[in-house]
Symmetry: C2
Subunit: 204 residues, 2 copies
Amino acid sequence: MPRRSAAHVADSRASAVEAAVDLASVVGLEGITIGRLAGELAMSKSGLIGRFGDKEAMQRAVLAAAVERFTDAVWRPALRSEPGLPRLEAVVDAWIGHLRDRVFRGGCFVTTASVEYDARPGPLHDDVAAAVRRWLGVLEAEARHARAAGDLPADRDPTDVAFELHSLASGGGVAGRLIGDAAALDRTRAAMRRAIGLPPASRR
Amino acid sequence: MPRRSAAHVADSRASAVEAAVDLASVVGLEGITIGRLAGELAMSKSGLIGRFGDKEAMQRAVLAAAVERFTDAVWRPALRSEPGLPRLEAVVDAWIGHLRDRVFRGGCFVTTASVEYDARPGPLHDDVAAAVRRWLGVLEAEARHARAAGDLPADRDPTDVAFELHSLASGGGVAGRLIGDAAALDRTRAAMRRAIGLPPASRR
DNA sequence: ATAGAGGACGAACGATCGTTCTGTATAACT
DNA sequence: AGTTATACAGAACGATCGTTCGTCCTCTAT
């Protein structure tokens, strides 16, 4: 068995987390099992859990990594667009795109985690809630900018806009995947665009 | 230990299922445990599972009961309203109402089950998908009726309307509960009304 | 050259998982 | 009243859960 340098060790922890993200996107953060994950990574259970301390610490690391992956896929590209409505439009496109490209093997990770912990208190609940609040805040700030620029009706509450976008994306992603509706993502995109006053189809 | 008559037996099975629905709405259909449920019902594990055969059969019975409960709370009351837009409005009110009244202890059961099985094949996936498809079909038929009556724009796709209502309700319910936003249900209701062309607040 | 730190292993822990089997007490039927 | 059917308890099953332990191996630093 080849040994690993310190750099490889860090890689190994990161790759363990990434594998766990993919696994959890299918079976849920609560559905992860040390044994199963260790098996997929061809590691021993003790070697795996040793990296994190205990299972909950691992779950929190996995959640953080998933949030990072989501941010990379959806938010970061949108930063290239102008603040306000153009950026919201870019977010919608990237959001639908990351669902279409299956950035998460089993559907949006944060949605899965939200459902798992919405009624179960604990550190993981708090982590998920904090991540969602942060994301809603980002969307709301962008909506506020758009409204100030006159790109959204003056009587449209930015908080409502953010909440509506989030609801549509998470609800639509789940339902579409569940019932196997190929057009679901298009419907979701159209609905999200409607929510910010854009025509159903992009001009591109 | 007192014995039970046949009628009591049926009651016992039904009450076991109802307790399981409440439990599963918190921990998920996959999170149910024979031992834990038996404990809550003050029964032995073998006595409990004996009613159903195996765990999967129990889960399917629990899911069916949850769908029934949802139908009772959301659809059946709306049947008193005129078909078309009035009935859709009643559905929205009842839908939000059943979330507010916590008909399910841990948030909408079907949403939880949708997320659990959207990426996991099997009989339970098929059951959940069938239930959601049926519900979307009901909403779509009502939207189609509303459009024919001129209460929805002619270019509004009834399938889109149904999908949008469902996405908003399930996504909004989860997010609101997760982040503990008391206004979330109001936001969701307003968004759902917007989706069917109604003003944010009901006239009542 | 050698001591130390740290990562990973295999084995084992008690607990709990879903399931099966057996015994028994009651209800329903003849 | 005697027989059959049924519903449940209790014990036990192999498997797997998360975790802990002691040991080995490799790398780094002195």
